[in-house]
Symmetry: C2
Subunit: 245 residues, 2 copies
């Protein structure tokens, strides 16, 4: 990775992920979106709905990476404590903000639904934060400094990622090319290691799979320079030619 | 959670997860298996194939939790550095161990495949570690102190989890009951918060969903005492009765 690419981390918040009740899909979605945007995802953490853990982790990851994206815990119920904890992590006051309240009021009025005290919690936004648009269910996320706080429901999370990414300056997208080799990983390991030394500016990954009872390996080469990728792929194909027809 | 339940963390190692190339499924599998075994999963981290990051994270999580489970990076290729990094985290020597070598030799001999230098890397086991059986592709995982090092390929990971869990003392399984309510989360938030105060020994989660364009909430109550769960569920059903037919 070039040193000048911005870096990102993700924090998934929710007891339901850790208990296995819910299968997280937001991590994979964000990983793909960030890779395409040129902001490599460097680390992900999953923690429960615990105030102290959220505060500590937000401070640590926001300090270490250029951007931190959070998922989960911004709904109307008692276990939705992410917004308040993120505000606390930066010693920032939080309260119902008029622009967020207006968004919720318009949304619920159009549906004949009461904007009660629980729903009004979703208008609590830390001072100085920028709202993240939620075209699915109105209640906004927010960006406070370099922390982007988003919902856990996948449809809402994905809509918020689409809202926030254009505001974030990306680097050159990380490119990748792949070669599938129907041999054991142990057969390709030696030559692949030598090749990776000749192309130290690229990263080489090998991912074994089992398909119809046979072993194979996907070799993936990643980098930001397309010409270098092409050169590495030519060498790879020479090392591991496709099966003759 | 009762204080006497053992705790666990998971460390997923692999650039391919962070780039979005591969969608991790091992976290969800382990979360479900640990919940059933009575060892709650308290935290998950995902990091890349970077030696220093693996060493630091293994030290931190192995120190904080009763068990640490790792996934990925124990194959034969140059980017498979997990075994060596885990050994380094505990300042433990690592080398080819005879019992692991014999397992690999038998496996490859039966298939007429050479046990070359790359494959022999998979017999490198830290001193004092216990092997974890791999009935899928032979190359073993290992447990070093409270760290259980397993493969990233899902079929192999799942087989290793099945091998290692019976060795780990679990607590009472975490029980859960669920009620689906076809109302907005904002309608149930207030009463649910009051109920959770009356049952402080249980945990209450509410998980909104969108199905056929309509909002609903799954309310999940978790705890280790079945009678208390039943009592809470009775109260819940009273608060949010099922729709009359």
């Amino acid at each position: 990775m070039p040193a000048d690419a911005p870096t990102a981390a993700m924090l998934v918040i929710g007891d339901e992920i850790l208990s296995g009740r819910t299968r997280d899909s937001n991590m994979h979605h964000l990983a793909c979106a960030l890779t395409a945007h040129g902001v490599p995802l460097a680390e992900v953490r999953v923690i429960g709905d615990t105030r102290a853990a959220i505060i500590d982790t937000v401070r640590e990851l926001a300090g270490r990476y250029d951007h931190l994206f959070t998922s989960g815990g911004i709904g109307p119920t008692h276990d939705d404590i992410t917004a308040e904890a993120v505000a606390a992590a930066f010693d920032t006051p939080i309260g119902v903000r008029e622009d967020a309240r207006a968004i919720l009021a318009a949304h619920y009025e159009a549906r004949g639904t009461e904007l009660n005290a629980a729903r009004l919690r979703m208008a609590r936004i830390p001072d100085g934060a920028t709202l993240i648009d939620n075209p699915v269910s109105a209640a906004p996320g927010f960006s406070l400094r370099n922390v982007h706080v988003m919902a856990g429901v996948p449809a809402v999370f994905e809509a918020m990622v689409a809202s926030v990414l254009p505001r974030i300056t990306g680097g050159a997208p990380l490119l990748s090319q792949q070669l599938t080799v129907h041999r054991g990983e142990g057969d390709i390991a030696g030559p692949l290691s030598d090749l990776s030394e000749d192309f130290a500016d690229l990263s080489f990954g090998s991912y074994p799979f089992i398909r119809n009872g046979a072993f194979g390996v996907s070799i993936v080469v990643r980098g930001r320079d397309g010409a270098r990728l092409d050169a590495a792929m030519s060498r790879l194909i020479g090392l591991f030619p496709p099966d003759a027809p």
